[in-house]
């Protein structure tokens, strides 16, 4: 960091803003030009430091992104020239000298945004899932290694090693830096969306306030999904994922009570839901669904929208939700989805109808160790006033449940049906 007194506040703000907006683009472009991930990161970092020192006297450039990319590229050029011991480096210098300003996105000119190359490479299936997540946060979102380490509650050295190993694997194994060709694109896109959703859930399930230094992974996931949806405007699932995140995240303020305990959807104070996020999510979902290629993320977003539409928990359109779970189950056959459908059917048609679906899941022999299966059965039996049978199922659920809130909930219910 430069100077004794530091840059003026407006310059600092402009650089911070440019960092949020442009970091990923600068790194992505530098990786394409140099093929060297470490060099790209270091030169991008240098460019932002230079901006802090220079924007005060030179003025803030009209196109900060172009200024930063050029500065980072010149820095890379210098460094490669200085280390011109190898013939390879000289070739790289020659390649770098060609002026090259990539346009902002995958546009009509057919030119690919480097950030799209970057995200597909970060999420390549030949990397471990943990490495994909970490690399995406570091190179595309611009989180520092200590920040990512804190986010995943691992020591900084472990995270640094994970990032280094991933970058070496990309280089040594020859993972291509590109948007996959058409025959690979659908499955690779699913992989990218899965990484972003995992990131979102990691942030969403972390209890708030336990570490103020922990970066907000849900917000990062939303930012990256917004970028991806912009870069892949023809991919309805990318838009569906963004909609899903916005609709779920809209409930975050109501998810915890004053003691930090999770609040059920049913019991949440709906006036605390973020209406702006809900309306953006709903609009995005509608735009995605118009393409008539409903995928798992769009369907899950539609379920979240059903909840968002209900002013009161009692207004929820459970019949619609049951249908959506059925549709989702057809795309991804899963007993957990079927269990969710059972709950939705119980809410719309009564507990007996829901119980019939639970019976089917049990006779299929799945989820035998999953506490929510007996817990759901118990709740339905309780609502049918079959207290003795309900108590048996609550006890079974308690045997399988972990610790914490779900245990307290089950014990309370068990007492209610006279089982304690």
């Amino acid at each position: 960091m430069p100077t004794n007194q530091g840059p003026p506040a407006d310059v600092e703000a402009a650089v911070a803003d440019a960092f949020r907006q442009e970091w990923g683009r600068v790194v992505a472009t530098l990786i394409r030009m140099t093929g060297d991930w470490d060099l790209a990161e270091e030169c991008a970092q240098d460019a932002f430091t230079t901006a802090l020192a220079r924007w005060g006297s030179d003025g803030i450039p009209d196109r900060p992104g172009a200024w930063l990319t050029t500065t980072a590229r010149n820095r890379a050029l210098d460094r490669l020239r200085r280390s011109k011991t190898e013939a390879v480096k000289l070739q790289e210098v020659a390649a770098l000298s060609v002026p090259d300003e990539p346009p902002a996105r995958l546009d009509d000119s057919g030119v690919t945004d480097d950030r799209l190359r970057l995200i597909f490479t970060c999420c390549h299936p030949a990397l471990t899932l943990e490495a994909r997540v970490a690399l995406t946060l570091r190179t595309l979102a611009g989180l520092t290694t200590p920040e990512i380490a804190r986010a995943f509650l691992v020591p900084e050295a472990t995270m640094a090693k994970r990032l280094t190993r991933a970058k070496h694997k990309i280089r040594d194994a020859g993972i291509p830096y590109r948007v996959p060709p058409a025959h690979l694109l659908p499955e690779r896109t699913i992989g990218v969306l899965a990484v972003l959703y995992l990131l979102f859930n990691e942030g969403y399930s972390a209890s708030a306030g336990d570490d103020l230094l922990r970066p907000d992974l849900s917000a990062e996931a939303i930012r990256l999904s917004r970028l991806l949806a912009n870069l892949m405007p023809d991919e309805p699932e990318a838009i569906g994922l963004l909609a899903l995140m916005l609709l779920q995240n809209a409930r975050s303020a109501a998810r915890l009570d004053d003691d930090g305990e999770l609040v059920n959807l049913e019991d949440q104070d709906r006036s605390r839901w973020d209406q702006a996020a809900i309306s953006e999510g709903r609009n995005l979902l509608e735009a995605a669904l118009r393409r008539q290629q409903a995928g798992p993320y769009q369907i899950q977003a539609a379920i979240a929208a059903c909840h968002a539409d209900a002013q009161l928990a009692a207004d929820t359109d459970w019949a619609e939700i049951a249908l959506l779970y059925q549709q989702l189950g057809r795309l991804i056959p899963s007993a957990v989805i079927e269990l969710n459908r059972a709950v939705a059917i119980a809410m719309s048609e009564g507990p007996a109808a829901g119980l019939a679906v639970v019976d089917e899941i049990e006779s299929g022999g799945e989820l035998t160790d999953y506490y929510l299966l007996p817990a759901t059965r118990a709740d339905l039996l309780r609502r049918m006033h079959l207290n003795e049978e309900a108590a048996t199922s609550y006890r079974r659920a308690l045997e399988l449940a972990g610790t914490g809130p779900e245990r307290r909930y089950l014990s309370r219910r068990l007492a209610e049906v006279g089982g304690l």
Binding site: A126, D172, A173, G174, I175, P176, L184
Partner: protein
Amino acid sequence: MRYMLLIWGHGSDVDGATEAEPQISAGGLEDGEPCWAPWAREMQARGVILHDGAQLLGPEAATTVRSSGPEVLVADGPFAETKEQIAGYDVIECADLDEAIYAASRHPVALKGGAVEVRPLATT
């Protein structure tokens, strides 16, 4: 880049693959051809260069040698007694890992249930 495809399989995967089973391969087998011939044709048509490759005899024919100490230690059997064993290898040259993954995914032993480990060759 050059990659070695290490072909891992149970005995049965490999034995099965050595018998002629034209339906699993792209171009179909001609009389007397080994099972990997259609794979080789498909790879060549894609511009993947096949440098070398062979099927190996089973682990019962293997001998493991260690020579770091004063004496040479010789033992019967493979280095690791695992359920799956290296059944063969191919050295290919292609553009990148995606292309190597494709080549591996089309390998006759992979199609029979074996696994293919893709290792880049070190460049010196």
